[in-house]
Every structure is written in structure tokens, then in C-alpha cells.
């Protein structure tokens, strides 16, 4: 399997949340992310810090959901990659 770059990993994480009707618990997210717990923790902190995800409490249970910025990232992901490839950045 080809190694994913950082932008792709972020996209995959956000896509998992989006595909789960924008609400997923952290344990299934770790499982589906295909990342070690340490790497997941790093990416999770980064996504939170960048404002791509938010925590929601539903019926006393914690869920992770996308923010508008996270949704925007998914929409613009192809543009970002095409831009990077076009200008070989």
C-alpha cells in the first residue's frame, strides 16, 4: 500500500466522519483511520486545532463531527492537490 501524505490522511479522516452521517465516536474513528494510536492522536489534535472537527455530546455520549471548515476542506481537497501538482510544490 502506497504511503499516504499528510493532506491525504486528513482527507481520509474527515471523509470517515462525513460518511458516518457527520457523527462518529472516537473508537470507531481510530479503527477506520488505519493509523497507530500515537499518529491518530497527533492528527486528531491537529484537526481540532485547525477547526476541522468538533466534539458533540449527544445523550451523554461524545461524538466527533465536522465543522464548516472541515466540510470545506473536503470540497476543496481536489483543488489543493491539483494546484500542488500543477506547480510542483
Amino acid at each position: 500500500m502506497q504511503k499516504r501524505n499528510k493532506l491525504e490522511i486528513i482527507k481520509d479522516l474527515l471523509k470517515i466522519i462525513q460518511d458516518n452521517k457527520n457523527s462518529i465516536k472516537i473508537t470507531p474513528l481510530i479503527r477506520k483511520s488505519n493509523l497507530s494510536s500515537q499518529r491518530f492522536s497527533e492528527y486528531f489534535d491537529e484537526l481540532t486545532k485547525k477547526g476541522f472537527i468538533k466534539k458533540q455530546i449527544i445523550k451523554d455520549k461524545g461524538f466527533i463531527a465536522l465543522t464548516e471548515k472541515g466540510i470545506k476542506y473536503l470540497e476543496k481537497y481536489n483543488s489543493i492537490i491539483n494546484f500542488i501538482n500543477e506547480f510542483e510544490l
Binding site: 493532506l7 485547525k50 471548515k69 470545506k72 476542506y73 476543496k76 483543488s79 489543493i80 491539483n82 494546484f83 500542488i84 500543477e86 506547480f87 510542483e88 510544490l89
Partner: protein, 227 residues
């Protein structure tokens, strides 16, 4: 001053303002057009790319400022201007921004492959600063021109060396555009510091430069999805 000379100066100033304004706007469109992509991705390559064009825009601003002062004061040599502001500070700022613009553009290509414990981009700022200070202090634009030629030559060599290792198909058209950009940038420097260097071909020269920046701007706007 007779009417013909006045008209000549006014025409020169007008064409200079229009030319610089068009280039500056292209650079700013590139910078702000990529803002969203950078805000979302925080990708360093995009950061260095867009900042390069911000610095190009600023360099063109100071270039036009110097050119207009030269036309207005009927002087020909920038570094010989008596005023500290126009003869030292403005050329210094132009030299700094133009050197750093080239360095940032080269770095946007190679940053991934050029790993260093130190932040390489700070060296770029330091190098640009030293080049500008030495050129202004020695009152010798040749130092500035030769160092920029060296930077561009080393930059192109580095890009080809690093990209040679990549197996991905290269964007030849992009390399041609950048090669032309660097080439015309050197001609811009000569045009600023060597009196009447390209006087007969000034308009054609300006149109070529505008064409290069418009091409890059068009590519940027197409990729970010604006067009």
C-alpha cells in the same frame, strides 16, 4: 522644460504606472487567490509560492516608484540620486524584495527534498538582506545583478537536480514559464539600473513580462477553481 520633454516624461510616467499596476495586480491576485487553499491545507509549498508573488508585487511597487522618481527628476542612475529615500532606501527595499521573491519561488519547488535541521527560509532572508546592503553601500548595482544571476542559476540547477530524482512526469510548460520569468526578471533589473538599456524595445519588453505574469495568474485561477 519644453513641452515635448514634459509630454515625454508624462508618457513615460503613465506607461510605467500602467505597466507596474498590471503586474502588481497579477501578483496580488495570485497571492489572495491562493489564500483559501493555504488556509485549509497549511501546505508549506503553497505558502512559499504565494509569498513569492507577494514579494514580486512589492518589488514591482518599489521599482515603479524608483522609475517615476527618475523620470520626474530627469535623472538616469538610481544609486546616484542624492536623496536618501530615493537613492538608498527605495533601491534597497526593491533589491531585498526582488531577491527574496526569486528565492521563495525556487524554495517552493525544492523545500520537500531539501531537508535541513535549520529553517532554510531564514537563510534566504539573510542572503537577500546581505546582497541588498552590500549593493547599496558599494553603490554598485553589478554586485546585485551578478548575485541574482548566481541565485537564479543555482536555483535552476537545484530544481533540475532534485526533480530529476522524481519519477513523476514533469510539467515542462511550467519550467519554460519560470525560466522566462527569471530571464525577464534579470532584464528588469538591468532596465532599472542601466539607463535607457531597453528604451527602443520597452513596450515589447513590458508586454512579454505582462504575458508571463498573466499566464501564471491564469494557471493559478484555473486550479483554485475561480475560472
Amino acid at each position: 522644460m519644453d513641452l515635448n520633454t514634459q509630454n515625454f516624461i508624462l508618457m513615460g510616467i503613465s506607461s510605467e504606472i500602467i505597466y507596474s499596476f498590471v503586474i502588481m495586480m497579477s501578483c496580488l491576485i495570485i497571492y489572495f487567490g491562493t489564500k483559501e487553499l493555504y488556509n485549509l491545507s497549511s501546505y508549506k509549498g503553497i505558502k512559499y509560492f504565494r509569498q513569492s508573488f507577494l514579494f514580486f508585487g512589492l518589488a514591482y511597487f518599489f521599482r515603479s516608484f524608483i522609475k517615476i522618481i527618475l523620470l520626474f527628476s530627469n535623472q538616469v542612475e538610481v544609486l546616484k540620486l542624492e536623496s536618501v529615500l530615493f537613492g538608498i532606501i527605495a533601491p534597497f527595499i526593491f533589491m531585498y524584495f526582488s531577491s527574496i521573491a526569486v528565492l521563495y519561488l525556487v524554495y517552493s519547488f525544492v523545500w520537500r527534498d531539501w531537508k535541513s535541521k535549520l529553517n532554510n527560509i531564514y537563510f534566504a532572508h539573510f542572503a537577500a538582506l546581505i546582497i541588498s546592503i552590500v549593493s547599496v553601500i558599494t553603490d554598485e548595482f553589478l554586485i546585485y545583478l551578478i548575485t541574482n544571476l548566481i541565485i537564479i542559476f543555482l536555483g535552476i540547477t537545484l530544481i533540475f537536480y532534485i526533480k530529476k530524482k522524481d519519477r513523476v512526469k514533469k510539467n515542462t510548460q511550467l519550467y519554460i514559464i519560470y525560466f522566462l520569468l527569471f530571464g525577464f526578471w534579470i532584464l528588469e533589473i538591468i532596465d532599472l539600473f542601466v539607463p535607457y538599456a531597453f528604451q527602443p524595445l520597452q513596450t515589447i519588453f513590458h508586454l512579454f513580462c505582462i504575458g508571463i505574469f498573466f499566464t501564471i495568474m491564469y494557471k493559478v485561477l484555473t486550479r483554485v477553481g475561480t475560472i
